[in-house]
Amino acid sequence: MFDGRASGRPTSDTDMTTATLDPELRPALFDYLLRLGDDALVLGHRLSEWCGHGPYLEEDIALTNLALDCVGQANGLLGLAAEVEGAGRDADDLAFRRDALDFRNALIVELPKGDFGFTVARQLLFSAYAHLLYEALRESAFEPLAGIAAKAFKEARYHLRHSSEWLIRLGDGTDESRQRAQTALDDLWMYTGELFEKDDTLRTLVDAGLAPDPRALEAPWRERVEAVVSQATLTLPEDDFMLTGGRSGRHTEHLGHLLAEMQFLPRAYPDAVW
């Protein structure tokens, strides 16, 4: 398993903090924290759209819980990103005053919430990844990130369990629910490859022991997803065509609308404090 504290860079006795961070790592770390923060923010937004509209009152509460966890993670991660950037911005500036081209979330989280089957399938695919990612990030050599990861890991565990249980119910429920769950998986599949891409940002951070190698997460991710999907009596799509672009700001058409809604107030009243 990845252990940033034991591997990689010749480090001093203590782990890195924002103050002791190697300046050369800053741009990559900033970029990486935006990816993590934007994933959480945008997914939280999509989950929050269910509030008041879920299939059960109990599920309204559960989905709102998930949304709350995500927005809380976004707040921590974007706050840390702003610190690392050191340009006087804060988490809200990053959330509300960047345009789509500067967002770094994976495409999968920005897709419209769809039906409940789509939301559940996406949550499973993403949470299985987030769970592995944050498990590893607890060992990041960048101490503040390891702190955030410890909490996010526990939250991802719950998100994964909740979405797994639902996917199994839907897959092994009625003909209609099975059909909907399978369609959702098929539709989402081409957005999963992006989660495991390794580019320059990641190469820098992996070498420095700040982030785990995403490629190393793919096999255990697939194993977990497959286990749930087969228990749900569904099948994983075989198509290996994968879409990409989110990490470099090439998004779907949906993100612009999401941001227009989310950022409306700070944009319309740039001088106001809320």
Binding site: C51, G52, L68, V71, T174, M262, P266, A272, W274
Partner: protein, 318 residues
């Protein structure tokens, strides 16, 4: 024991301040009144998620977004909690919800007004949750045990909602001219509907006398309304805002605020379905219910399969 004696004993217990519990004998009329009140209350919590939910995706900061998510989630929890308390009276939540969806059950008319700006989120927390606190603090002493206990638990959260709402208003009152304008506008729109939340004036309140006698309520609609006005007016003044009531004035002698006439025609109009959002609110609840039908069917089918499997395994094991 004959029914007359039973009623006498029941009312004696109430006079002594005892709580009535689900297994205790109670007059059918008492049970019916409680089912009506409690289910209306639960429906209000649930329908109330809609106007505030309307601003979750547009909350102006991450902190405000989290607070609003948590608040609306609390309201869903209140709904659940009160539905379960109502079920202790021998009714079924699904039937209660069905009555709401068919437009046969009522919910608080306040939620038939729209949330137009972010200031509405502040003012709702402050006024609407504030009014709910006044009402629920009294209901926390209700003679029916499960209802009283539900109210005690819920009131704590409502207090937090009110504080949070007022804090939004304080921030806006200190803000830009546009923010102050938004805030004043929200106050103007929500003030009268909030006063109507306490129900019709005592002289027209058909249920009041009986509810007071059975200590479901301890105060009349008008008493509660006056109490709310007395605590809220100074809070409005502290923000440098005004209330849309030219007749509002302080009565030195009584040490209380006197307010102008409430438009009861508007109240009855909205109660009877002709408010700005009555149709939309019901349509949204129905849409969620219908869109969730296949999910509920799947969960039931899955549970049935699991039960069948367990039974087969049980037989094999035996």
């Amino acid at each position: 024991m004959n029914e007359v004696a039973q009623v006498e004993e029941f009312e004696a217990r109430i006079r002594q301040g005892e709580k009535i519990e689900p297994k205790d004998w109670m007059p059918e009329r008492y049970r019916k009144q409680l089912v009506r009140m409690m289910s209306q209350h639960a429906h209000s919590e649930v329908v109330g998620m809609l106007p505030e939910g309307n601003w979750i995706t547009r909350a102006p900061s991450l902190r405000r977004k989290m607070a609003l998510l948590a608040k609306v989630q609390d309201e869903a929890g209140h709904g659940l909690y009160i539905y379960s308390a109502t079920e202790t009276l021998g009714v079924d939540r699904d039937d209660l919800v069905q009555a709401l969806l068919e437009g046969k059950a009522k919910y608080s008319s306040i939620f038939n007004y729209p949330t137009l700006t972010w200031a509405d989120i502040g003012v709702i927390g402050w006024f609407v949750d504030g009014a709910a606190i006044v009402n629920q603090t009294m209901l926390a002493k209700a003679s029916y045990g499960p209802y009283a206990r539900a109210m005690i638990r819920i009131c704590k959260e409502e207090n937090f909602h009110k504080k949070q709402g007022y804090e939004i208003c304080v921030t806006m009152a200190r803000g830009t001219p546009e923010q102050r304008e938004m805030l004043q506008d929200a106050i103007n729109r929500w003030w009268w509907p909030t006063l109507m939340m306490f129900g019709p004036p005592d002289k027209d309140s058909t249920n009041s006398a009986e509810l007071l006698r059975w200590k479901v309520k301890q105060k009349s609609n008008d008493e509660l309304r006056r109490h709310f006005v007395n605590i809220t007016v100074p809070q409005v003044q502290a923000l440098g805002m005004t209330l849309p009531d030219p007749d509002l004035k302080y009565d030195e002698e009584a040490g209380a605020w006197r307010f102008g006439a409430i438009d009861w025609d508007e109240f009855w109009r909205v109660v009877r379905g002709r408010g700005p959002c009555n149709r939309e609110r019901l349509r949204a609840r129905r849409a969620a219910h219908e869109a969730g039908a296949w999910v509920r069917a799947a969960a039931e089918a899955y549970a049935a399969k699991q039960r069948a499997k367990q039974e087969t395994n049980g037989v094999r094991a035996a």
